[in-house]
Protein backbone atom coordinates (compact mmCIF):
# COMPACT_ATOMS: atom_id res chain seq x y z
CA UNK A 1 0.00 0.00 0.00
CA UNK A 2 1.47 3.36 -0.98
CA UNK A 3 1.43 6.58 0.93
CA UNK A 4 -1.11 8.18 -1.35
CA UNK A 5 -4.71 7.02 -1.31
CA UNK A 6 -7.46 8.35 -3.45
CA UNK A 7 -10.61 7.37 -1.59
CA UNK A 8 -11.90 9.96 0.84
CA UNK A 9 -15.10 10.69 2.68
CA UNK A 10 -15.06 14.37 3.48
CA UNK A 11 -18.75 14.30 4.34
CA UNK A 12 -18.32 11.74 7.11
CA UNK A 13 -18.02 14.25 9.91
CA UNK A 14 -20.64 16.56 8.45
CA UNK A 15 -23.01 13.63 8.83
CA UNK A 16 -21.93 12.23 12.18
CA UNK A 17 -20.54 15.05 14.31
CA UNK A 18 -23.77 15.83 16.17
CA UNK A 19 -24.13 12.16 17.10
CA UNK A 20 -20.49 11.92 18.16
CA UNK A 21 -20.93 15.01 20.30
CA UNK A 22 -23.91 13.43 22.06
CA UNK A 23 -22.23 10.06 22.40
CA UNK A 24 -18.57 10.84 23.01
CA UNK A 25 -18.64 14.41 24.25
CA UNK A 26 -16.34 17.03 22.70
CA UNK A 27 -13.17 14.89 22.55
CA UNK A 28 -13.50 12.55 19.56
CA UNK A 29 -10.78 10.06 20.41
CA UNK A 30 -11.14 6.29 20.67
CA UNK A 31 -8.38 5.87 23.22
CA UNK A 32 -7.99 7.86 26.41
CA UNK A 33 -4.75 8.03 28.35
CA UNK A 34 -5.43 6.51 31.76
CA UNK A 35 -4.50 9.07 34.37
CA UNK A 36 -4.70 9.41 38.13
CA UNK A 37 -4.79 6.92 40.97
CA UNK A 38 -6.85 4.84 40.54
CA UNK A 39 -6.39 5.27 36.78
CA UNK A 40 -9.40 6.65 34.93
CA UNK A 41 -10.27 7.55 31.35
CA UNK A 42 -10.92 11.24 31.81
CA UNK A 43 -10.92 13.08 28.45
CA UNK A 44 -9.73 16.34 30.00
CA UNK A 45 -6.79 14.74 31.78
CA UNK A 46 -6.06 12.54 28.79
CA UNK A 47 -5.67 15.54 26.50
CA UNK A 48 -3.39 17.26 29.01
CA UNK A 49 -1.29 14.10 29.29
CA UNK A 50 -0.98 13.99 25.50
CA UNK A 51 0.18 17.60 25.14
CA UNK A 52 2.62 17.09 27.99
CA UNK A 53 4.04 14.13 26.10
CA UNK A 54 4.12 16.33 22.99
CA UNK A 55 6.31 18.83 24.81
CA UNK A 56 3.83 21.70 24.50
CA UNK A 57 4.86 24.82 26.37
CA UNK A 58 3.01 27.88 27.54
CA UNK A 59 3.43 30.60 24.94
CA UNK A 60 3.31 28.16 22.03
CA UNK A 61 1.36 28.79 18.87
CA UNK A 62 -0.20 25.41 18.11
CA UNK A 63 -1.76 23.78 15.05
CA UNK A 64 -4.37 21.14 15.86
CA UNK A 65 -4.52 19.16 12.62
CA UNK A 66 -7.93 17.49 12.62
CA UNK A 67 -9.40 19.52 15.44
CA UNK A 68 -12.88 17.99 15.61
CA UNK A 69 -15.19 20.31 17.53
CA UNK A 70 -12.16 21.85 19.29
CA UNK A 71 -12.65 19.81 22.45
CA UNK A 72 -8.90 19.25 22.89
CA UNK A 73 -8.10 22.83 21.88
CA UNK A 74 -10.45 24.22 24.50
CA UNK A 75 -9.00 21.94 27.18
CA UNK A 76 -5.45 22.94 26.30
CA UNK A 77 -6.17 26.66 26.09
CA UNK A 78 -8.05 26.53 29.40
CA UNK A 79 -5.03 24.94 31.07
CA UNK A 80 -2.25 26.92 29.38
CA UNK A 81 -3.03 30.61 29.73
CA UNK A 82 -0.69 31.79 26.98
CA UNK A 83 -1.20 29.20 24.25
CA UNK A 84 -2.87 30.08 20.94
CA UNK A 85 -4.41 27.29 18.88
CA UNK A 86 -5.41 27.15 15.24
CA UNK A 87 -7.53 24.08 14.51
CA UNK A 88 -8.31 22.75 11.07
CA UNK A 89 -11.02 20.33 10.01
CA UNK A 90 -12.35 19.51 6.56
CA UNK A 91 -15.87 19.42 7.96
CA UNK A 92 -17.87 22.64 7.86
CA UNK A 93 -20.23 21.15 10.42
CA UNK A 94 -17.39 20.47 12.85
CA UNK A 95 -15.92 23.93 12.36
CA UNK A 96 -19.29 25.53 13.03
CA UNK A 97 -19.81 23.57 16.24
CA UNK A 98 -16.19 24.19 17.24
CA UNK A 99 -16.65 27.96 16.91
CA UNK A 100 -19.79 27.77 19.04
CA UNK A 101 -18.00 25.77 21.73
CA UNK A 102 -14.95 28.03 21.65
CA UNK A 103 -17.14 31.11 22.08
CA UNK A 104 -19.05 29.46 24.92
CA UNK A 105 -15.74 28.76 26.65
CA UNK A 106 -14.74 32.42 26.22
CA UNK A 107 -11.64 31.46 24.25
CA UNK A 108 -12.30 33.03 20.85
CA UNK A 109 -9.21 35.20 21.21
CA UNK A 110 -6.90 32.17 21.50
CA UNK A 111 -8.61 29.23 19.80
CA UNK A 112 -9.86 29.28 16.24
CA UNK A 113 -11.35 26.64 13.96
CA UNK A 114 -10.84 26.71 10.20
CA UNK A 115 -12.30 24.62 7.40
CA UNK A 116 -9.14 23.46 5.69
CA UNK A 117 -7.22 20.43 4.47
CA UNK A 118 -4.18 19.75 6.64
CA UNK A 119 -2.39 18.66 3.47
CA UNK A 120 -2.74 22.22 2.07
CA UNK A 121 -2.73 24.53 5.05
CA UNK A 122 -3.84 28.16 4.84
CA UNK A 123 -0.99 29.38 7.05
CA UNK A 124 2.32 31.00 6.28
CA UNK A 125 5.54 29.07 6.68
CA UNK A 126 7.25 28.93 10.09
CA UNK A 127 4.21 30.06 12.05
CA UNK A 128 3.83 27.31 14.65
CA UNK A 129 5.81 25.99 17.60
CA UNK A 130 3.82 22.76 17.85
CA UNK A 131 1.74 20.68 15.44
CA UNK A 132 -0.61 18.07 16.89
CA UNK A 133 -2.39 15.19 15.17
CA UNK A 134 -4.80 13.43 17.51
CA UNK A 135 -6.27 10.35 15.82
CA UNK A 136 -6.49 12.18 12.52
CA UNK A 137 -3.83 10.82 10.16
CA UNK A 138 -6.13 8.02 9.04
CA UNK A 139 -7.95 10.70 7.04
CA UNK A 140 -4.84 11.70 5.08
CA UNK A 141 -4.95 10.92 1.38
CA UNK A 142 -1.26 11.78 1.02
CA UNK A 143 0.98 11.15 4.01
CA UNK A 144 4.00 12.82 2.38
CA UNK A 145 1.99 16.02 1.77
CA UNK A 146 0.63 15.84 5.30
CA UNK A 147 4.04 15.91 6.94
CA UNK A 148 5.60 18.22 4.36
CA UNK A 149 2.91 20.76 5.24
CA UNK A 150 3.47 20.21 8.97
CA UNK A 151 7.17 20.78 8.38
CA UNK A 152 6.53 23.92 6.36
CA UNK A 153 4.32 25.63 8.93
CA UNK A 154 6.56 24.76 11.89
CA UNK A 155 9.31 27.09 12.97
CA UNK A 156 12.82 25.62 12.88
CA UNK A 157 13.02 23.70 16.14
CA UNK A 158 9.23 23.30 16.22
CA UNK A 159 7.66 20.08 17.45
CA UNK A 160 5.40 17.52 15.76
CA UNK A 161 3.34 15.08 17.80
CA UNK A 162 1.07 12.32 16.50
CA UNK A 163 -1.14 10.14 18.66
CA UNK A 164 -3.18 7.78 16.59
CA UNK A 165 -4.87 4.46 16.02
CA UNK A 166 -2.29 2.83 13.78
CA UNK A 167 -2.53 -0.27 11.68
CA UNK A 168 -0.25 -2.75 13.44
CA UNK A 169 2.81 -3.20 11.24
CA UNK A 170 2.95 -6.92 11.99
CA UNK A 171 -0.51 -7.52 10.59
CA UNK A 172 -0.75 -9.44 7.34
CA UNK A 173 -3.02 -11.80 5.53
CA UNK A 174 -6.34 -11.31 3.86
CA UNK A 175 -8.33 -11.44 7.10
CA UNK A 176 -6.30 -8.63 8.66
CA UNK A 177 -6.60 -6.58 5.49
CA UNK A 178 -10.35 -7.15 5.38
CA UNK A 179 -10.74 -6.20 9.05
CA UNK A 180 -8.73 -3.00 8.53
CA UNK A 181 -10.78 -2.09 5.48
CA UNK A 182 -14.00 -2.62 7.45
CA UNK A 183 -12.65 -0.54 10.32
CA UNK A 184 -11.55 2.30 8.03
CA UNK A 185 -14.85 2.27 6.16
CA UNK A 186 -16.83 2.34 9.40
CA UNK A 187 -15.00 5.40 10.73
CA UNK A 188 -14.72 7.23 7.41
CA UNK A 189 -10.94 6.88 7.23
CA UNK A 190 -9.02 6.93 3.99
CA UNK A 191 -6.67 4.33 5.47
CA UNK A 192 -5.17 3.82 8.91
CA UNK A 193 -1.41 4.22 8.66
CA UNK A 194 1.33 2.13 10.23
CA UNK A 195 3.76 3.77 12.63
CA UNK A 196 6.69 2.86 10.38
CA UNK A 197 5.28 4.48 7.25
CA UNK A 198 4.45 7.55 9.34
CA UNK A 199 8.03 7.77 10.61
CA UNK A 200 9.33 7.28 7.07
CA UNK A 201 7.10 10.05 5.74
CA UNK A 202 8.18 12.38 8.55
CA UNK A 203 11.85 11.66 7.85
CA UNK A 204 11.22 12.23 4.15
CA UNK A 205 9.75 15.63 4.95
CA UNK A 206 12.86 16.58 6.91
CA UNK A 207 11.80 15.84 10.49
CA UNK A 208 14.02 14.24 13.09
CA UNK A 209 11.99 11.60 14.88
CA UNK A 210 12.75 11.25 18.59
CA UNK A 211 10.07 8.79 19.69
CA UNK A 212 7.92 6.18 18.01
CA UNK A 213 6.24 3.80 20.42
CA UNK A 214 3.02 1.95 21.16
CA UNK A 215 1.03 3.47 24.02
CA UNK A 216 0.35 1.09 26.89
CA UNK A 217 -1.67 3.36 29.16
CA UNK A 218 -4.59 3.81 26.79
CA UNK A 219 -8.11 2.73 27.67
CA UNK A 220 -11.14 2.12 25.48
CA UNK A 221 -13.79 1.68 28.16
CA UNK A 222 -15.34 5.06 27.37
CA UNK A 223 -15.51 4.22 23.68
CA UNK A 224 -17.14 0.85 24.25
CA UNK A 225 -19.38 2.15 27.03
CA UNK A 226 -20.66 5.02 24.89
CA UNK A 227 -22.16 2.46 22.54
CA UNK A 228 -24.22 0.74 25.22
CA UNK A 229 -26.59 1.71 27.97
CA UNK A 230 -27.55 -0.15 31.12
CA UNK A 231 -30.83 0.28 32.90
CA UNK A 232 -32.97 -1.82 35.19
CA UNK A 233 -35.85 -2.05 32.68
CA UNK A 234 -34.20 -3.06 29.43
CA UNK A 235 -30.83 -4.29 30.71
CA UNK A 236 -27.99 -3.84 28.22
CA UNK A 237 -28.94 -2.09 24.98
CA UNK A 238 -27.15 -0.34 22.14
CA UNK A 239 -27.23 3.44 22.28
CA UNK A 240 -27.96 5.55 19.21
CA UNK A 241 -24.20 5.71 18.68
CA UNK A 242 -23.88 1.96 19.13
CA UNK A 243 -26.66 1.32 16.63
CA UNK A 244 -24.71 3.33 14.08
CA UNK A 245 -21.14 2.26 14.84
CA UNK A 246 -20.98 -0.97 16.82
CA UNK A 247 -20.12 -3.93 14.63
CA UNK A 248 -20.06 -7.37 16.18
CA UNK A 249 -17.00 -9.35 15.14
CA UNK A 250 -14.95 -6.37 14.04
CA UNK A 251 -11.50 -6.81 15.54
CA UNK A 252 -8.92 -5.12 13.30
CA UNK A 253 -5.16 -5.32 13.91
CA UNK A 254 -4.71 -1.85 15.33
CA UNK A 255 -2.60 -0.30 18.03
CA UNK A 256 -2.43 3.07 19.75
CA UNK A 257 0.88 4.77 19.32
CA UNK A 258 2.64 8.10 19.60
CA UNK A 259 5.34 9.70 17.49
CA UNK A 260 7.38 12.75 18.43
CA UNK A 261 9.54 14.63 15.97
CA UNK A 262 10.96 18.08 15.43
CA UNK A 263 11.99 20.31 12.59
CA UNK A 264 15.76 20.71 12.81
CA UNK A 265 17.08 24.22 13.32
CA UNK A 266 19.01 23.89 10.06
CA UNK A 267 17.61 21.89 7.14
Amino acid sequence: MGLTSTRSDSGFYDRWTELFLRGFGPVFQAGMVRTGDPPREDPHQSVLALVESAGLRNGDRVLDAGCGVAGPGIIVASHYSDVAIEGVTDSASQASIARREIAAAGLSDRVRAHVADYQRLPFRSGLFDQVLFFESTGYATDLHATYEEAYRVLKPGGRLYVKDVFCASTSSGWEAVEQMERFDRLWGCVRSKTMQESVDAMAGAGFEVTLCAPMADIGTNRLVGSMFQLDDVTGLQLTELGEAFFRSGLNPPIEFGEIRAFRPLKA
Binding site: A30, G36, P38, P39, R40, E41, F183, L186, W187, G219, T220, N221, R222, L223, V224, G225, S226, M227, F228, Q229, L230, D231, D232, G235, L236, Q237, L238, F245, F246, R247, S248, G249, L250, N251, P252, I254
Partner: protein, 70 residues
Protein backbone atom coordinates in the same frame (compact mmCIF):
# COMPACT_ATOMS: atom_id res chain seq x y z
CA UNK B 1 -31.96 9.68 36.65
CA UNK B 2 -28.32 9.93 35.60
CA UNK B 3 -27.20 7.27 33.15
CA UNK B 4 -24.56 4.82 34.27
CA UNK B 5 -21.25 6.43 33.14
CA UNK B 6 -19.99 5.07 29.80
CA UNK B 7 -16.55 4.33 31.21
CA UNK B 8 -18.11 2.09 33.84
CA UNK B 9 -20.32 0.33 31.30
CA UNK B 10 -17.38 -0.21 29.00
CA UNK B 11 -15.29 -1.65 31.79
CA UNK B 12 -18.12 -3.93 32.86
CA UNK B 13 -18.41 -5.18 29.28
CA UNK B 14 -14.70 -5.69 28.72
CA UNK B 15 -13.74 -6.98 32.19
CA UNK B 16 -15.92 -9.93 33.19
CA UNK B 17 -14.42 -10.18 36.68
CA UNK B 18 -15.20 -6.52 37.36
CA UNK B 19 -18.70 -7.02 35.92
CA UNK B 20 -19.42 -9.84 38.33
CA UNK B 21 -18.27 -7.76 41.28
CA UNK B 22 -20.13 -4.68 40.06
CA UNK B 23 -23.45 -6.43 39.70
CA UNK B 24 -23.08 -8.42 42.93
CA UNK B 25 -22.18 -5.44 45.10
CA UNK B 26 -21.98 -2.12 43.22
CA UNK B 27 -20.86 0.01 46.14
CA UNK B 28 -17.97 -2.25 47.03
CA UNK B 29 -16.96 -2.70 43.40
CA UNK B 30 -16.68 1.03 42.68
CA UNK B 31 -15.19 1.93 46.06
CA UNK B 32 -11.63 3.03 45.53
CA UNK B 33 -12.00 2.90 41.73
CA UNK B 34 -12.74 6.59 41.32
CA UNK B 35 -16.29 6.24 39.97
CA UNK B 36 -18.91 8.42 41.57
CA UNK B 37 -22.41 6.95 41.50
CA UNK B 38 -25.56 8.33 43.06
CA UNK B 39 -28.15 6.24 44.91
CA UNK B 40 -30.31 5.74 41.83
CA UNK B 41 -27.38 4.45 39.82
CA UNK B 42 -26.39 2.07 42.60
CA UNK B 43 -29.98 0.83 42.81
CA UNK B 44 -30.10 0.32 39.04
CA UNK B 45 -26.96 -1.78 39.13
CA UNK B 46 -28.26 -3.80 42.06
CA UNK B 47 -31.50 -4.59 40.25
CA UNK B 48 -29.80 -5.89 37.11
CA UNK B 49 -29.79 -9.64 36.60
CA UNK B 50 -26.14 -10.69 36.10
CA UNK B 51 -27.09 -13.70 33.99
CA UNK B 52 -29.28 -11.57 31.74
CA UNK B 53 -26.43 -9.10 31.28
CA UNK B 54 -24.03 -11.94 30.41
CA UNK B 55 -26.59 -13.21 27.90
CA UNK B 56 -27.05 -9.74 26.42
CA UNK B 57 -23.29 -9.32 26.02
CA UNK B 58 -23.10 -12.70 24.34
CA UNK B 59 -26.02 -11.87 22.05
CA UNK B 60 -25.01 -8.31 21.19
CA UNK B 61 -21.25 -8.61 21.16
CA UNK B 62 -20.23 -12.24 21.09
CA UNK B 63 -16.45 -12.15 21.41
CA UNK B 64 -15.94 -9.21 23.76
CA UNK B 65 -12.53 -8.44 22.23
CA UNK B 66 -14.40 -7.48 19.09
CA UNK B 67 -16.22 -4.72 20.97
CA UNK B 68 -13.09 -2.66 21.41
CA UNK B 69 -13.25 -0.93 18.12
CA UNK B 70 -16.84 -0.32 17.34
Amino acid sequence: MEQIPPELIGRAIQDSDFRRRLLADPESAVAGEGYELDEDQIRTLRELDPEAIDDAIEALIGDVDAAKWG
